[in-house]
């Protein structure tokens, strides 16, 4: 591990520049994606990637140059390019960063169970083949796929201020989906995939529930095919954690990103209905809503010791008892806005610069079991597993869809319904949060697919949540 570190340190020490500050962020990534579709092993997709980003600050202006050439000359050339650009952009620069503090921290961070070997290729294919074969024979089951993705990342951050930060992490993404078709409609039920990513090793595959899941997931796909459409109207909505993660992501996470509030993303990812002056003032949700930026759950996808600008990460309440307290803004955004934030300046790889991203954004557990949550609903619906998401560029008006719906009447779970969709407005939706599940309903989930930024970046984020109930939400089904 970190076998390139001594060489990299030497090369960093030899770099020459007139910049007042410079840093190097080296990333080495290897990965594999294995899948079996309808009992046929698909060819493995493997990858190896490494490169470095050099960032300079000259007279308060920052610029970067990312390079695949890690030789001493290659690194120096990149540093020179960044320095030249910073000098030439001075007349046009938006920001003067001369007074922004830089990190000089030195630390290592490791994923849990990193010392345990990951199952071999043969073992993975054996597991995938067994789960695929366990999907029952039924002519209505037209497609199914079982997969395991794994990425191993080593990152080294060095700066002229003396920072030396190393991270070694392994991310695992198990998944299964089954599609059923009756000649007119098709319904897909899934487990894991984009919803369940964690740090760790074989333990992640076990925690996901992939082993032995084939028949159950297939049965649910067939149940959906036979189910009526979700009836339209206002109902109490019980969202399970694998839909809560999307709800948190889109209507709390993105609107609280400080760079959006500062306008950086207005041309692409969008803006926010939240304003800088709302922090400390705005009642974002009901008193049951407690939202944290939490880098301390070891297996969660975006747990880390320091962000990609070298800021130390710690757990912070963003919303406490419904009151909005703190944005998702890294050191640069905090400096620009004059506000406290969190350590969430992150880049997806060596070839993209850090920007404000969600990391682990969680809802703290409440005090009700799932049975209690259901028992207190008179006329409602349970929805599970996101399949569709759409929200406006200010992250306010949304419509989300799930794979699985079950009506709730007089405190009891009733029949399965298909195409469960709901819509609402973020600014009001969280105020309708009426009950929060306890730790027995709490799940640690995450997705590798959060897109943002110019140039575009897709990054992993973690969301842990209990099941939650929202009062009187507009729900509806599909056409088929």
């Amino acid at each position: 591990m970190f076998d390139f570190h001594p060489q990299l340190k030497q090369r960093f020490a030899a770099l020459r520049t007139g910049a007042e500050f410079f840093s190097l962020r080296y990333v080495r990534e290897s990965g594999q994606y294995l899948s079996v579709r309808k009992n046929v092993a698909e060819p493995p997709s493997l990858r190896r990637d490494e490169g470095a980003m050099l960032t300079v600050r000259v007279n308060g202006v920052e610029a970067y140059a990312a390079t695949n050439d890690l030789s001493p000359a290659g690194l120096q050339a990149a540093l020179d390019k960044a320095e030249q650009q910073a000098r030439q952009l001075k007349p046009h620069a938006l920001l003067d960063l001369r007074d922004q503090r830089v990190s000089s921290d030195r630390a290592d961070y490791f994923s849990p169970n990193l010392d345990q070997p990951f199952p071999s290729l043969s073992e993975c294919y054996e597991l995938l083949g067994a789960e695929s074969a366990a999907v029952p024979r039924d002519e209505r089951l037209v497609n199914w796929q079982v997969s395991i993705g794994m990425t191993h990342v080593e990152q080294i951050y060095l700066s002229s201020a003396g920072a030396e930060l190393r991270q070694a992490q392994r991310f695992v993404y198990p998944g299964l989906d089954v599609t059923a078709y009756d000649g007119n409609d098709s319904q897909t039920r899934s487990l894991g995939r984009e919803n369940f990513g964690q740090q760790g090793g074989a333990d992640v595959i076990s925690r996901c529930g992939l082993i032995g899941a084939g028949p159950h997931i297939a049965d649910q796909a067939l149940q959906l095919l036979l189910a009526p459409n979700t009836p339209p109207g206002a109902r109490d909505l019980l969202l399970m954690p694998d839909q809560m993660m999307l709800q948190i992501h889109e209507s709390i996470g993105h609107p609280l990103e400080l760079d959006r509030i500062l306008g950086d993303e207005r041309n692409y990812a969008g803006t926010s209905f939240v304003k800088a002056q709302d922090f400390g003032q705005l009642q974002y949700g009901s008193k049951w809503l407690n939202v944290t930026f939490d880098p301390d759950i070891p297996e969660q996808l975006a747990s880390y010791g320091h962000d990609d600008d070298g800021s130390a990460a710690s757990k912070q309440f963003l919303i406490r008892e419904g009151l909005l307290l703190r944005p998702l803004g890294g050191a640069l955004s905090q400096f620009r806005a004059g506000m406290d934030g969190v350590a969430n300046s992150r880049a997806c790889s060596w070839n993209r610069p850090p920007i404000d991203r969600m990391a682990n954004l969680n809802i703290e557990p409440g005090d009700q079991s799932l049975a209690q949550l259901i028992g207190n609903i008179e006329h409602g619906i349970l929805m599970s597993t996101n399949r569709s998401w759409s929200i406006d560029d200010a992250r306010n008006k949304f419509q989300f869809g799930c794979e699985w719906g079950q009506l709730i009447e007089n405190g009891e779970l009733k029949g399965v319904v298909k195409n469960p969709n709901y819509r609402g407005v973020s600014a009001q939706f969280w105020k309708s949060l009426s009950a929060v599940g306890d730790t027995s309903t709490f799940q640690v989930l995450g997705t590798p697919n959060c897109g943002k930024g110019e140039p575009n970046q897709v990054i992993r984020v973690g969301h842990a949540s209990p099941a939650c109930v929202f009062s009187q939400v507009d729900v509806f089904g599909g056409d088929a």
Binding site: V40, A41, P43, P44, S45, L46, R47, R48, D49, G51, M53, Y64, A65, A66, N68, D69, L70, S71, G74, A77, A82, Q85, Q88, L89, H92, A93, L94, L95, L121, Y125, V142, N184, S186, G263, D264, R266, N267, Y268, G270, N351, P353, S388, W389, S390, I391, D392, D393, K397, Q399, G401, R423, V425, E454, P455, N456, Q457, G477, G478, D479, A480
Partner: protein, 449 residues
């Protein structure tokens, strides 16, 4: 200011050297394919008409597939640009794949292209100096709230196989994708993209956007949910096409019942006879070959509202008994071309009469995929029109409607003029996708929120 390192001819030579080395290293009966992707990019972000973040990225990678005894595996390797280092990385990669193949079962859907086809396309228009471009942009935006992104530089793609195929594609391009914001939060979206930066051309494009900005100052109109006549400008139609392209034309998605167009391909539904769609690779920015080694030709996907060709990768060809037609693994179009209609653009407002003029849509997804029912938001410059006159900007609204309605029973007219929309996407690398689309007048669009 910008120096785009590693000239294209040098990259082509480096790729050829890797290919030659690989041909020597391969042991009969092994076979290989090797794809190549590289770019040197200048990236500049703007906020409040100033430079928010700027940098340069130099990257190159190969995708190596090794085939032996009916088994195959793929490995992507980042290159360093140094011949010796890259030859060693490729040799290590080859060894990794050699050790991997015996662990795999034979793949019944392996289909190789044994043709030794050749393709070469090099476009080397000189690129503008980034400092000059930044100067022009900041001068044009003086006094305005501009936010945007400039990306420029050479892009290279290559392919070679042990069967003797060799393709090379290189193009210099730039894309300035920007928005102008009114103080009330409303904005106009525009772009200036191509191969050759022309200061007058940029100034004209910028002036058009600035003119639209004036309309946004009028008091906002808030609409109630309901059904409205609407004009979808080409950029708005592109959002609908992008969503439909996400599995819509894919042979695997159609066969596995996860295509939103499965009812079109089954013949159960159709679009309006006005709708004809091609994947028009020739003359587009996309390479004329796929990453898996098939030359790509133009395809008629929809003709007068009826489904025709699907996009077929080699794997789908083997699995479903179809003919591979150059689609990549994702089987998505990259050069979608929609036939023009008869409505002159100048008559759009008159044809619309009273309804919504929608410049852009945003964040589309499905409400009910098998029915191609989709939802999404208006974004940027959406206006309320009465009797052919723009009245007011409209606050952000959500629509929820089926593509079989919007492009079928409710499609009234397509414009004579079409707009070439070059993708500004830069996920992992700068995209080469494009779309040539008209605008569309629809007699009913359902707004829900």
């Amino acid at each position: 200011m910008t120096t785009y390192t590693t000239p294209a001819n040098s990259q082509a030579a480096s790729f050829k050297a890797l290919v030659n080395g690989l041909r020597e290293a391969i042991r009969e009966p092994e076979q290989f394919t090797l794809s190549y992707a590289a770019e040197s990019s200048a990236f500049v972000r703007f906020n409040h008409a100033k430079v928010r973040q700027a940098g340069q990225v130099q990257q190159a990678s190969v995708g190596l597939k090794l085939i032996n005894d009916g088994r195959h595996a793929d490995l992507d390797i980042t290159l360093s640009g140094a011949a010796e280092v890259d030859a060693r990385r490729l040799a290590d990669g080859l060894q990794q794949l050699r050790e991997t193949l015996p662990l795999l079962p034979p793949d019944p859907y392996l289909l190789l292209n044994h043709n030794g086809w050749q393709s070469n396309n090099v476009q080397a228009h000189p690129l503008p100096d980034t400092e000059q471009v930044v100067g022009e942009i900041t001068r044009a935006a003086e006094g305005l709230d501009l936010v945007g992104f400039y990306a420029a530089g050479p892009i290279s793609r290559g392919f070679a196989s042990s069967a003797g195929a060799f393709g090379w594609h290189q193009a210099n391009s730039f894309n300035f994708d920007f928005s102008l914001f009114h103080a009330n939060g409303q904005a106009v979206k525009a772009s200036y993209a191509g191969h050759q930066w022309d200061s007058e051309g940029f100034a004209r494009r910028f002036a058009q956007a600035r003119e639209q900005l004036a309309f946004l100052g009028r008091p906002l109109r808030t609409l109630a949910p309901g059904q409205y006549r609407a004009y979808l400008a080409p950029a708005a139609l592109e959002e609908i096409m992008s969503l439909l392209s996400w599995g819509g034309f894919s042979a695997q998605s159609i066969a596995s019942k996860s295509s939103p167009l499965q009812k079109l391909y089954s013949g159960d539904h159709s679009f309006s006879p006005l709708v004809s769609l091609d994947e028009h690779v020739s003359g587009s920015l996309s390479p004329a070959f796929s990453g898996e080694g098939y030359p790509r030709s133009d395809l008629k996907l929809i003709v007068e509202g009826q489904a025709e060709a699907q996009l077929v990768s080699s794997r789908s060809a083997a699995e479903y008994g179809l003919t591979a037609n150059g689609a990549g693994g994702g089987e998505a179009p990259s050069a979608l071309n929609m036939a023009a209609g008869a409505l002159p653009e100048a008559d759009v407002l008159r044809q619309l009469g009273t309804g919504l003029y929608i410049s852009n849509l945003w964040y589309l997804n499905y409400s009910d995929l098998p029915g191609a029912r989709m939802t999404g938001m208006t974004r940027f410059a959406t206006f309320w029109v009465e009797n052919g006159q723009i009245q007011a900007p409209v606050s952000t609204m959500r629509f929820d409607d089926s593509a079989f309605s919007l492009l079928g029973s409710q499609l009234e007219a397509l414009t004579q003029e079409r707009e070439l929309l070059l993708s500004a996407s830069t996920y992992s690398q700068r995209a080469t996708a494009s779309a040539l689309l008209p605008g569309a007048v629809v007699s009913r669009l359902t707004l829900t929120l």
